[in-house]
Symmetry: D2
Subunit: 281 residues, 4 copies
Amino acid sequence: MSTDDKKTGRARGEEWWTTKIIEMKPGMIRLRGYAIEELIGRVSFPAMIWLMLRGELPSEEQADLLGIALSAAVDHGPQAPSIAIARMAMTCGVGINSAMASAVNVLGDVHGGAGEQALAFFGDIAAAMDAGHALEAAAAARLDRFFAEAEGYVPGLGHRFHPVDPRAPRLLAVTRDFAGRGVVPGRFADIAEAVEAGVERRKGKKIPLNIDGATAVIYGELGFPPPLTRGLFVLSRSVGILAHAWEQSQQGERNKGPLPREWLWAYAGEPARDLPKAEDE
Amino acid sequence: MSTDDKKTGRARGEEWWTTKIIEMKPGMIRLRGYAIEELIGRVSFPAMIWLMLRGELPSEEQADLLGIALSAAVDHGPQAPSIAIARMAMTCGVGINSAMASAVNVLGDVHGGAGEQALAFFGDIAAAMDAGHALEAAAAARLDRFFAEAEGYVPGLGHRFHPVDPRAPRLLAVTRDFAGRGVVPGRFADIAEAVEAGVERRKGKKIPLNIDGATAVIYGELGFPPPLTRGLFVLSRSVGILAHAWEQSQQGERNKGPLPREWLWAYAGEPARDLPKAEDE
Amino acid sequence: MSTDDKKTGRARGEEWWTTKIIEMKPGMIRLRGYAIEELIGRVSFPAMIWLMLRGELPSEEQADLLGIALSAAVDHGPQAPSIAIARMAMTCGVGINSAMASAVNVLGDVHGGAGEQALAFFGDIAAAMDAGHALEAAAAARLDRFFAEAEGYVPGLGHRFHPVDPRAPRLLAVTRDFAGRGVVPGRFADIAEAVEAGVERRKGKKIPLNIDGATAVIYGELGFPPPLTRGLFVLSRSVGILAHAWEQSQQGERNKGPLPREWLWAYAGEPARDLPKAEDE
Amino acid sequence: MSTDDKKTGRARGEEWWTTKIIEMKPGMIRLRGYAIEELIGRVSFPAMIWLMLRGELPSEEQADLLGIALSAAVDHGPQAPSIAIARMAMTCGVGINSAMASAVNVLGDVHGGAGEQALAFFGDIAAAMDAGHALEAAAAARLDRFFAEAEGYVPGLGHRFHPVDPRAPRLLAVTRDFAGRGVVPGRFADIAEAVEAGVERRKGKKIPLNIDGATAVIYGELGFPPPLTRGLFVLSRSVGILAHAWEQSQQGERNKGPLPREWLWAYAGEPARDLPKAEDE
């Protein structure tokens, strides 16, 4: 951060918290330069999200497409750690915001990072295309590098539970529709399909695009950088987290554990033993 | 929770995590009974939020009004503890979801609860009206009770910083507009204005509606119960939290403290002293 | 907080963060007036905890008794939401501090507040004794009030799982031992037993002291105020939370859900249904 | 995790939560094989921490040394994000456990990871010594590699605020004392000093050991693996976090921001501007 080291006192304190997002005086709130009372009622919630993150307003269609991606990943049920934790927390005597915090807090590299990884992967291919390579060659080169370096699934493909994740083909079709109307270029949709095809050639079977890959396509089309997609996923999943926390709060449980109350857990450690005699015994 | 105590084994385990929100099988995801691939592209993000929380789809206009309320409270700048914490956390080497969690976690009774309190207050007046009392009388009776029991501001009125919060009159005007089109009854807008007027009569000066009161009006018009408004505020403020966390991550700071790096804090405790001699010295 | 409103600039900023706990200059750290290098190696960890919370050093025996109470409540297994959440979080790709945070965050009024409630209850009886009432009468009066106002268990008594919690009688015996040596008065141990006896007279069966009641006895003997006992419980349970998070990290799981991976959850909501036709269809 | 896939029903559910830490039945709690009522009053709090994390009891002297390291890092004042966040959170209307959670949550790679990095660095040198290299050569080789790969400070050395961190030399002296009594080998103390000397030779000035380096020495002497040192730091710093949260709760502030209430923040973004005309205007 470029700070003016010559400032002192209150000006220096206020400079410490510089931001380009919000300007405020008594009776005045501006977001990214727009008066809040002008924004209210004029821009949709996804457009407000865009404005806050990007600094400029999207077109109405761009905001619609962002909203579609945000809507797609709101919930994947209580076997997901985030959702289970929201429900458990809600029975422990904390506010609904704290239950949501404990849940959001686990959307880490593994639980929340797949979209970011997928978009970075697709972005590498886009960069190769910018440098003059054809789509298929760029995808093949990136896959070669992936299989040389890593094991397991290519980012954005495959699902341990769904043979085909029903969200992915629908999101891709929607993206194609928006591309057809000129809202987005459609390039990341092409890339995702080229990756899918390249994997199928290598593996001899199709490993279909999953929700993380499909939302990465949309976020890429809309110009979001990969690390922001984790944040967008947090906004999206927070909806399911809130819904489950709320549903749980309407039931009467206390200190809900992971297993039915009358069950325990398996113990696999040291058998019963006595404390060693104290040194002075 | 009504549990069937006769179930055992896997069925009992699965019953332990019963929900009415999401149904899943391999290749199938349904939210509130709707196939996810049907929802995607057909419902807006605010409509999805509504569906998840309420169990039924809203009308398009209801969803629009919900989105307007969600958009209005996204940010109030880094003097708000939630926003400051998001920025500080982001410099400590954690993921953006964890920075958001630390921030969301402080939207408690004081920082995040004012809307809930305002809606409960307005709801008491609505209940009195349902029982046959006229608006002004119902508001006056509730205010009498408030001033007999409590000190300080009536929930939903007044702001320590803004003489008039620019969001509140705009949100009220928007609500009136939606009421004029028959989307909502307009009753909570009436109640809020009656409360404002009643306070002015008592205090001799106007204590205007604030953002919490104004969003409480909308959430009340739309039929949300008071405790859910805290959850909705979390969804809304999470946008600002993400925007500030993201902006902070683009700068190079490490372990950002509350004051400029070269400042300290005032110490007001015991002066320097020696440890007491050990008992065996 | 008494702030000197005449201060300005840096002095005002530093005053904003006034504390009596720690004084620092380059090369100097003092806790409660003691130089850190004097404290290191001279005071035990429980004594340091006491110093930080109370402002003065305890005797060695007081610190020992505090350490005993802290040791007793470190773990109650993965059916406790806090422990389960620590383990689940650890499989989601976050740091061990974040896994601990999600877990500590659920030690709320229900999961972490029983000790505070028990000490407040015992403290009411102690206050009545200070006002001249005999132990048994003071306990009976408090219990009368409890049963007139509330349902369920008296704070500090009873356990849904353990007929007798093995920690409680042992902690009480230890307290008696310290009281015999004059370290503590033994008064809260008397009060807890009087409460136990009073409940037995009313109910016709013994509802024995639990871990929360037993640690409340010790914290009361040592002079901690009730709200601080929740904080002490956090320090204690953090040990078990860390142990389980660490054990989990040594296994290879990803996104550990509450139920075995091949299980699901029961769905009890709306059956499959079609989206309503859009208004313009 | 090796799971017996042939188990079904309740046994499978209980196996899903297998642990070697705690065994429980009604009326029975065993930690690492020891009955809890045997442990209570017989082992110190640091010994309990060791038992939970390592699976075996330490000697009394090992526990003492662990307690010394835990005591040294409890607080570094409210300019540390963790401490500031605890204080801010406490004014927002959440429980003390939630204030602690928001604070612990920021002890990430940057704010809480330096000890882990230092111990890993020292451990590389120890491994080279195990492979037959002399101390000085092993340290020099590791430093060569560090300066070839990275910029900035060698892990465990240097402090932005303290010319010499007063905790570090004292902790090193204590370690030497324990080594002299045969409690620990003293090898990590040697390594730390060799690293310090090696850096001084390269830089021409001494960059002294800091608190992270000094506690890493002790944790290394005691045989803790690097990733666990972050967890130990969380236990340690939780004490200061609790002390500051508690002190803050005794004052009457609400929604404490980072700067004095009457200050704001600097705005560096877009100047005021009007919304673009809607497409249908």
